[in-house]
Subunit: 135 residues, 2 copies
DNA sequence: ATACTTGCAAAGGCTTTGCACCCTA
DNA sequence: TAGGGTGCAAAGCCTTTGCAAGTAT
């Protein structure tokens, strides 16, 4: 079972303000990897008064609590997603910025093996493949 | 055989100014993944008058020419390295920012297979594993 | 009631760019 | 010489932060 973002925030003892509930809901409803600007835009649909600063503070807070994960796809801004989503990796189209999610069973094993070889712990690991779509 | 950065710049018809020669030399001599600030610092050892703006313009120019490759390790600034270095991947310590280079033959095959499956061309591909060192 | 949160606007860090001057080919 | 390059400082973007006012517990 997986608790909702809000439930996990509460479990972490975080204060549940109206703004945090909204940001949590927005990310709960997102299947993509929204940046702060996008999250803010979606949050404004619930409460037009919410500020970008609060969105920044909330996602950072949730990240520290292990509720969200920050992604960097090379376009200079952070993307966010629920840390409890099923593990998957990303393929980024360096020309269009498009993000493809995929799962490959071998990658799981490979990542562990490499981390092991190098003495690293890949909890919360990610794989990023950068490429361009074939014509 | 692999031409020097400077030789490749010349081959691309780029104008070889004093500043570009220096930036090329600095990167030729670098075994790490310097950011612009670091490149500028090293360049100043050759010519204290070189400006950061020129370093930015030069690395971007060299990237467009396929001479250098830009890396993003999640710390908000770009790192640069010779595009002709032997292919390798990176493991980034998310706590210290340390960058480990490594090569794994299976990754080569895996990357190709995944790219193939997804219809992508991974020329100039990269793998980034994010983790923290085991205690 | 108190400690924490928010909005606003200013500031920070990295990168790009306009402009006048300078230099390579 | 002519077209491109450089330095400087200003501006752009994304993100963080100081402060006064507001709010969850």
């Amino acid at each position: 079972m997986t608790l909702s973002i809000l439930a996990r925030a509460e479990a972490h003892g975080l204060r549940l303000t109206g703004q945090r509930r909204i940001v949590a809901q927005v990310l709960e409803d997102s299947d993509d990897h929204p940046d702060v600007e996008t999250i803010h835009l979606r949050a404004c649909a619930h409460d037009p008064a919410i500020s970008v600063a609060t969105v920044y503070r909330t996602v950072n807070l949730f990240e520290e609590a292990g509720i969200l994960e920050r992604r960097e796809f090379g376009d200079g801004r952070a993307r966010w997603e629920d840390a409890e989503r099923d593990h998957h990796d990303h393929l980024i189209d360096m020309q269009t910025g498009e993000v493809i999610e995929f799962v490959d069973p071998e990658i799981e094993a490979l990542q562990e093996r490499i981390a092991d070889r190098l003495g690293y712990d890949l909890k919360g690991h990610r794989l990023e493949l950068f490429g361009v779509k074939r014509k």
